[in-house]
Structure formats: structure tokens, C-alpha cells
């Protein structure tokens, strides 16, 4: 489609119709100080396509991409291999424009993939039912907190110091706007158990994460039991979906709601988004669940078909009483997740998890051998925190100069928590022995 800009005549015709003498006069209600008087500083004049493409290409080559290797960043977004098949499937025109279906039953293919997605998420988390996805892990976490408040008719939620700070911040923003008390415990490497101490009779839910933001794997069963004893719900969070191939899934630890980020499966890092939120719960809570839900049924002839079900929870029917204002989903990212998960299969997924854990173990061994480096995370999957003898920010800058993107400094996510010498790093199936050796060599030089 050709882009058709307005001509000066078009503009005059519109102004005349609404009775404004000029464009500036039309905007006179906007305070002078808020109006742009001239050009934007530093933004060049318009140029031809070729010149713009060249300019942007020159900017793009300054990017360091994760694909170049020696990349150890995790903390909620993980560099995994995405098979070419995934991209091929999601680029099919029937799927590429996929969005939450507004005339759902006509889009049987889309509904079927959503149903398969839900089935995979439910199996992965060992929960009864999963929805057709949320925006991302952090909003899924916030929605879980809101859902727990609806289900328990209580107005207080507690997050552990191991929950990713971005998830905690999103939860605080959405809950506090509704007058819900949000308690966020101080950052703690092994802090999921501390949730029990913060439990009160009016707590709607405890929110814990495993593996947590420091990579610590925890059994949340005791926390769940304590929550249930007080009539509260347990929300189990994960940021690395691949971990579920090895660590106990939320459903086996007594979770009532499981939420997490699905980017690791089928979705590239992509500058931070769009990602796909995973959301699952127990059968009992299904009607309090936010988001869309695809269901399997039979048509009038008895043939298998798919529908959107339990829509009465949603805003187009329930209006202000809806279980969420999110009635959309990350359809294409969910499809990528499903395509990748289908390619992996159950056995392949477990093998993928195994490769990740082995890579992280090799990385931890290599780093721990360096004088002054101390691995802090007691039990990890593919991510762990370590202490350096010098300031983490300086260490990461020096590693960068040596071609190694060494991870995330904890102080970037948790300011003022006394973690200035802590780096959180991840290894995945993409991490080679050479990458690990390069990291260790570079770190040895700088500490």
C-alpha cells in the first residue's frame, strides 16, 4: 500500500471545515511551552530511501548482538537457539497477522494453535488449565496477584525478595492502583522461605520465584502449605521457562497459580519484546482467570472443533466486572512457543534443559577457579550470581572491552541493596566451551 501524505490543499480543506484558520491556530489550546517551536535537535532533515537505509545500517552495525557469542546475560530474557522451522511457521500468512480472534470460530487454525499452546503450558507447569497467553511474565505476575485478591476477597499480596524486581514493580503498579497492599521483601539470594514470615490472616497470596532472579532453585512446597493454612493462595513465578524441564514445576509444589515468561521457547531476545506471558491455575480457580481461553469441542456433525470458552469472564461481556482488562494475548509469540515446543517434544525439552544446566555448571566451575570470585547461588539451573573482588559495573565494562558481555550487575536491578559487587550471569545451549574459556580469561585479567 502506498503511503499517501496530506497535500497542503487537503490540510486547508480540513481546517476550513472545522473552522480553524491555520494548523497552529488549531493547536492553540496546547500551552506554548508544550509546543515544539522548530526542528528537533539532532534529527536530520528528510532524505531519500537509499540515504536513510545507509544511515540506519551504519547505526545498526554499532549494536553488539547476542548471536556474536560470549553473551552471558539472563535475568528474565535468555539467548536460546530458535530453529529456522519456527520462523517459517509463524511467517505463514494465515498466522502472521494472528491476533486475538474477534470472530473466533471462523479462525479454527488460530484457535487450534492456542489450544495446543494452553495444553503445553498446563503440562509444563503441572497445572490444570492455562490461558491463551498474557503480554509477558511481569504482567502475568501482576494479573496473578489481582486474581488472588478476587478469589480470596483479600487485599494484601506479598512478593519474595527473589522475585524479579521488574515483575515486582509491575505487580505493585497494577495492584496499588486498585488499593491493594503490596509487600515486597528485601532482595535475598535464598529468600523464598522468608515469605512464610510475612504471611498474615488477610494475605491474598504469597508470590515466590524458582529459579529466582539470582538463579536460586527452591522447593516452594512449604511456602504453599503455609499459605493454604491461612487461606491464602500460592503464586509460583518463573522467568526461564526452559528450567521447567529439570526443576519441579509449580503444580508439584502446591501452587494455585503459575506465571512466567515464555520468551525462552521459540522467541528471540528481540531487544526486549514482544514476549509472551504464561498463565496457568488450578481447575477450581478457572473462572477467576484473566485472558482468553480456547476450548476443544465437537460441531453439529460430531467433528472436532475449537471455540473460545468462558468468555463471560471477559470485558466485552462482563464489562467492569471482568476478570481482567487483558482480553488480548501475544498470539504470534505464543505460536512461536508452540511451534518450538512441538519440535522439541517432551524428551527434547528435557534434553534442552540438561544442556543449559551443564553449560551453567561449566561456567560456574571456570569462574570459581579465579582468585577472589565467589559463586553465591546455592542451587542453580542455568543462571547464578557471583561476587567479584571489585565493583561489578567496572568489571562488566572491562569485560565488554574484551568482547565478553558478562551478565547483569545486581545493583542495576536492586539499587541500594549492598550488591555492588554482584554479577548475575546465565549460560544456555548456545554457550560454547570457547565462550566460557573466553569469559574466564577476560575475568581473570580484570579482577
Amino acid at each position: 500500500m502506498r503511503y499517501l501524505p496530506l497535500s497542503p490543499e487537503d490540510r486547508m480543506a480540513m481546517l476550513k471545515r472545522i473552522g480553524a484558520p491555520s494548523v497552529d491556530a488549531f493547536y492553540e489550546d496546547v500551552p506554548e511551552a508544550a509546543r515544539l517551536p522548530g526542528k528537533i535537535d539532532g534529527l536530520p532533515d528528510h532524505q531519500g530511501e537509499l540515504a536513510v537505509e545507509r544511515h540506519l545500517s551504519n547505526l545498526a552495525v554499532k549494536n553488539r548482538t547476542a548471536n556474536e557469542g560470549k553473551f552471558f546475560v539472563g535475568c528474565g530474557a535468555y539467548k536460546h537457539h530458535v530453529p529456522a522451522t519456527v520462523d517459517h511457521i509463524i511467517q505463514r500468512s494465515e498466522f502472521l497477522t494472528t491476533y486475538t480472534p474477534y470472530q473466533p470460530e471462523i479462525a479454527q487454525g488460530t484457535l487450534q494453535t492456542l489450544f495446543e499452546f494452553q495444553t503445553q503450558v498446563a503440562e509444563l507447569t503441572a497445572m490444570d488449565v492455562a490461558n491463551a497467553s498474557m503480554y509477558d511474565g511481569s504482567t502475568a505476575c501482576a494479573e496473578a496477584a489481582l486474581m488472588a485478591c478476587r478469589a480470596t476477597r483479600r487485599r494484601r499480596v506479598v512478593l519474595s525478595g527473589g522475585v524479579h524486581p521488574h515483575y515486582a514493580a509491575a505487580t505493585k503498579t497494577l495492584c496499588e492502583a486498585q488499593g491493594i497492599e503490596v509487600v515486597i521483601l528485601p532482595p535475598a539470594l535464598d529468600g523464598e522461605g522468608e515469605l512464610i514470615g510475612a504471611l498474615t490472616d488477610d494475605t491474598a497470596c504469597l508470590i515466590g520465584q524458582s529459579p529466582n532472579v539470582f538463579g536460586t532453585v527452591s522447593d516452594l512446597s512449604d511456602v504453599s502449605a503455609a499459605a493454604h493454612e491461612k487461606g491464602a493462595l500460592m503464586v509460583s513465578v518463573f522467568t526461564e521457562a526452559v528450567a521447567l524441564g529439570l526443576v519441579p514445576p509449580p503444580g508439584e509444589m502446591g501452587a494455585d497459580i503459575a506465571v512466567g515468561e515464555g520468551q525462552s521457547i521459540g522467541n528471540p531476545l528481540n531487544f526486549g519484546g514482544p514476549y509472551v506471558g504464561l498463565f496457568a491455575c488450578t481447575q477450581k480457580l478457572t473462572r477467576q482467570m484473566p485472558g482468553r481461553l480456547a476450548g476443544e469441542t465437537v460441531d453439529a456433525d460430531g467433528k472436532r472443533g475449537f471455540v473460545l470458552t468462558l468468555s463471560t469472564r471477559e470485558q466485552h461481556i462482563r464489562r467492569d466486572k471482568a476478570t481482567s482488562n487483558i482480553c488480548t494475548n501475544s498470539g504470534l509469540c505464543a505460536l512461536a512457543f508452540t511451534a518450538h515446543m512441538t519440535l522439541l517434544g517432551g524428551v527434547g525439552f528435557k534434553q534442552l534443559a540438561q544442556l543449559n544446566h551443564e553449560a551453567a555448571c561449566a561456567l560456574a566451575d571456570a569462574l570459581e577457579a579465579i582468585d577472589g570470585v565467589e559463586i553465591l547461588t546455592p542451587r542453580f539451573f542455568n543462571e547464578f550470581a557471583f561476587r567479584t573482588p571489585v565493583n561489578a559495573e567496572a568489571v562488566l565494562a572491562m569485560l565488554d572491552e574484551r568482547g565478553v558481555i558478562g551478565g547483569v550487575r545486581a545493583s542495576r536491578l536492586m539499587r541500594g541493596a549492598g550488591l555492588d559487587d554482584v554479577i548475575i550471569c546465565a549460560a544456555t545451549e548456545c554457550t560454547t566451551d570457547g565462550d566460557i574459556a573466553a569469559y574466564a580469561d577476560a575475568l581473570r585479567e580484570v579482577v
Partner: protein, 124 residues
């Protein structure tokens, strides 16, 4: 035992200080096939006019308001497994909950059968 009706199509029967609450035949027919009823919690206290339950049909989900203030003493668990009871016997086996009323005089402001029938006729 007296039975009264609200303009939102709830019915309430008072026996001593225990009120039984449900939705009327008119409401059940307007909703269509009921697929789910969200019942109140035992022991919870509701003011007259507050949301005490949710009834969901294939067409819509609607709030059910307490016709009278009181504390929930019993909920109709049958509706959890067989929500269609609301359609089959809305003003008998399809009751929602029983409550110990706070102030029985709140019944006075509600409609009797004749007034309610006229109300329904006006709504068409």
C-alpha cells in the same frame, strides 16, 4: 412465610429470621441456559442491594443482589454441579442462599407477587 420480589428479579422468602434468596422464573427465562452460579461465602455478611452472587448463562453473566441484608447461613451446593436447576425450578430447588436477616422490616419495601407481575409485564 412471606415471599417478596425485587425489581432486579430476585425473590426472597422469609421464615422466622431466615431468608431464602433466588432469582425469579422471569429472570431465569430471560437469561437462558444457566451454566454457572458463583455462590457467596458461608458466614459472609451482605447489605441490602450488595452483590451476593453471580449467575452466568450462555448469553450473559449477571450479578444477583441481596434483596435484604443479612449473614449467609447456607448456600445451595446443588447449583455447583447442576446449575441448570436454576432454569428447571428457579423459585424452588434453584434457590441460591439462605441468610439470617439483620432487619426484617427491609422486606416491607419489596414488591408482593401482584406488584412484581405488573413490573414484569411492564418490562415486557
Amino acid at each position: 412465610m412471606t415471599t417478596k420480589y425485587t425489581k432486579d428479579h430476585e425473590w426472597v422468602s422469609l421464615d422466622g429470621d431466615i431468608a431464602t434468596v433466588g432469582i425469579t422464573k422471569f429472570a431465569a427465562e430471560a437469561l437462558g441456559d444457566v451454566v454457572f452460579v458463583e455462590l457467596p461465602e458461608m458466614g459472609a455478611t451482605y447489605l441490602k442491594g450488595s452483590e451476593v452472587a453471580v449467575v452466568e448463562s450462555v448469553k450473559a453473566a449477571s450479578d444477583v443482589y441481596a434483596p435484604i441484608g443479612g449473614t449467609i447461613t447456607e448456600v445451595n451446593d446443588t447449583l455447583t454441579e447442576a446449575p441448570e436447576t436454576v432454569n428447571e425450578a428457579p423459585e424452588a430447588g434453584g434457590w441460591f442462599c439462605k441468610m439470617r436477616v439483620t432487619n426484617a422490616s427491609e422486606m416491607d419495601a419489596l414488591m408482593d407477587k401482584a406488584a412484581y407481575d405488573a413490573h414484569c409485564a411492564a418490562e415486557g
